[in-house]
Symmetry: C2
Subunit: 160 residues, 2 copies
Amino acid sequence: MRFFEDIAIGQRRELGSFIFTVELIKKFAAQFDPQRFHLDEEAGRKSLFGGLAASGWHVGSVCMKLLVADGQRLTREAAARGEKTAIWGPSPGFRELRWIRPVLAGDIVSFATEVESVRPSEKRPEWGIVQARNTGTNQRGELVFSLLATAFVPRRDAGS
Amino acid sequence: MRFFEDIAIGQRRELGSFIFTVELIKKFAAQFDPQRFHLDEEAGRKSLFGGLAASGWHVGSVCMKLLVADGQRLTREAAARGEKTAIWGPSPGFRELRWIRPVLAGDIVSFATEVESVRPSEKRPEWGIVQARNTGTNQRGELVFSLLATAFVPRRDAGS
């Protein structure tokens, strides 16, 4: 992962795509969100969603999955270059999660993250605070998911 | 589910408890949040969490699971009394999700929901907008999770 000093407003990373198949939608829903329009095609078609729809928590969890994979990729690449890598702090939470459009069975959602603000932490000088907008866009280019995440990111010169 | 007219500020429902076992924490993390402190006890102990910690998305998804079960229970009870039940609209998202304390392996988290605000929708007179604070509290009475949810709730006299 990157250090605070390496992060600037507007930096964007494409996190990759995920196909929300019938099977994966039903599997997540059966465990965590067993509403009928997440479990049954016919019930989905009759609902406001107009089709078997992924749970919003499934969409958010897949975004997390791709964020983690991207961070692990960055860490491996930095290690391969012999660079020191940053260990980010635990996330305190996030704001403004929006499920903008349904994610229906067969939809391919591409996730991305873009830095919206960076500032040093006043209380903890060894950390910076980064806000990033994580988004999901479907195969028609429509925004389906958006979340404003907050992360504590270590400063390069702290604690070394 | 209840109609808008049946909902008042301060109404609280206990949603039940969930044991975050080692197995369930690792199973969720392997699928959606494969960071080491969510996958391995030793890595968890060495992390800022101090133990194998559940993914925050796991905690949120379990809260959703218990909310859905509670809604289904309310609907069954109303149907048993011969009452009409409300079908809530899709959630547009939520605000202020906070992971306040780690949820560690073996923790028992009790979830609850409490109504914070109610107002008629200006654009759609057949709907009301309800904001509720969903929380998780561990076996030591410590708040670990909080989220401010928004829901569109049908009005009793609309569309009947």
